[in-house]
Symmetry: C2
Subunit: 260 residues, 2 copies
């Protein structure tokens, strides 16, 4: 995790931190992080290096000179589907509304790390309880922990239970066994697809999001319980993958709030 | 405009095209564009160049070898506020629902060209009738016609009436004179801010979107008719500027459709 904002997020996330590294010019951020680093349970080394060496390991062009080595939480599919192990700084009393059950986001072939990060950030903001990443026959899903995805997620990846490498067939079966409705997000209009406001999001649901260009594999769409499509003003227009996911997750959140 | 998809969009937009350029390897896209280029009203030269020269002028790393020189439509503030001069390939009969009046998006200090492009794409998809770009005291707004913004907008910038360089004071006055409600989009929760679903979007409205970090200038927020904030599941989370705009414009579209 690189940059003062993400390191701060990591230190407050409850994830295990192995080390924090400051460069010479990064020292100016030490005060902001001091209270978090000083906490008793933080037994990791705080290291120093030169600006030149830091630039060599940094992923960004103009690094802020602060980085942390973080071990993200490990989850199994069962925990993610049940929403167990959710990490958040927020005491439950600050949460608006009661979550009526799982709201899972399944990324199936989302290739761009920026899109993966943005969708995770939106998912966290709208109360998703877990994330599954899966590859399709055609494409993999970018790692939520890749530097670009982490920056786009603003650290949200550390607050959500995430599981990867699950086969889509197994996943669809598991969802059915647990009574979680699977909704395939479709970019193109298709017969039988419903608008986001036509879905009852207060039920336990999993939203499947596919590849930016190709969408979800046909057999996955066919096996899902329903298809959801965001209607648009004119047929020439379209939404990018992250914007479409934001809209659908907002609708879920709007319905799930106690006072809609 | 670079790339086969954007050139296609430009040729179909009704905007004036000054020239189309193919590189050697770009020739493979000529067939896809042939029908559009051959139309009678298209009196522009079709030029050819080598791959090497094309790479020299291209903005992308792996150019597709097709580019067009396009003159975007010029609009004055009056036309944009009235939604006149909207360019779209869609005949009105294909438009879902009737637009109940202006839905203006004002970009005030949105610095990232990717965000500007994504917001324009979302605005077009959800039936915005016009776009105003403005600078604030703290920051300018990236040009909608910059290559990165154009790619992120998927050409939507060519379908929308856009006017730039308007002072925010003048704009707020003009909105009031025309009976268009101004809504300041606020990233942080603030007293008196309403949720998107609490706004009546069927009225003529202008949504003001501010800088990614700093938001809208305080005096603009104070002068707007209302503040709109997207509620979130927990206070630690946040939305990026483009995702927040997508959600708010979706809500406007949802309400404006004839059969909500």
């Amino acid at each position: 995790m690189e940059g003062v904002r993400l390191v701060e997020e990591a230190l407050g996330s409850g994830c295990r931190v192995e080390a924090v590294l400051f460069s010479e010019s990064g020292e100016r951020h030490r005060e902001r992080l001091a209270a978090l680093i000083a906490r008793e349970e933080m037994g990791f080394p705080v290291l120093q290096t030169t600006d030149r060496l830091f630039e060599g390991i940094a992923d960004t062009e103009h690094p802020q000179g602060v980085a942390a080595l973080v071990v993200p939480g490990k989850f199994v599919l069962e925990e993610v589907l049940e929403g167990r192990g959710k990490r958040t700084q927020d005491p439950p009393s600050q949460t608006e509304g009661g979550a009526p059950g799982p709201l899972i986001v399944v990324l199936a072939g989302v290739q761009d790390p920026g899109n993966v990060g943005t969708i995770l950030r939106t998912a966290a903001a709208f109360g998703a309880t877990g994330i599954v990443t899966a590859a399709t026959g055609q494409s993999g899903t970018a790692s939520p922990y890749a530097p670009k995805a982490m920056r786009a997620s603003a650290g949200a990846a550390l607050h959500l239970p995430i599981v990867g490498g699950v086969g889509l067939g197994i996943l669809l079966t598991q969802l059915r066994v647990r009574g979680i409705r699977s909704l395939a997000s479709c970019v193109a209009e298709s017969a039988g697809a419903v608008a986001p406001w036509e879905v009852d999001w207060r039920e336990p649901v999993a939203l499947l999001v596919g590849n930016e260009g190709a969408g979800l594999p046909e057999d996955v769409v066919a096996s899902a319980d329903a298809r959801v499509h965001v209607p648009m003003a004119t047929r020439v227009e379209s939404l990018n993958a992250a914007a479409a996911a934001a809209v659908v997750l907002y609708e879920a959140f709007r319905q799930r709030r106690s006072n809609p």
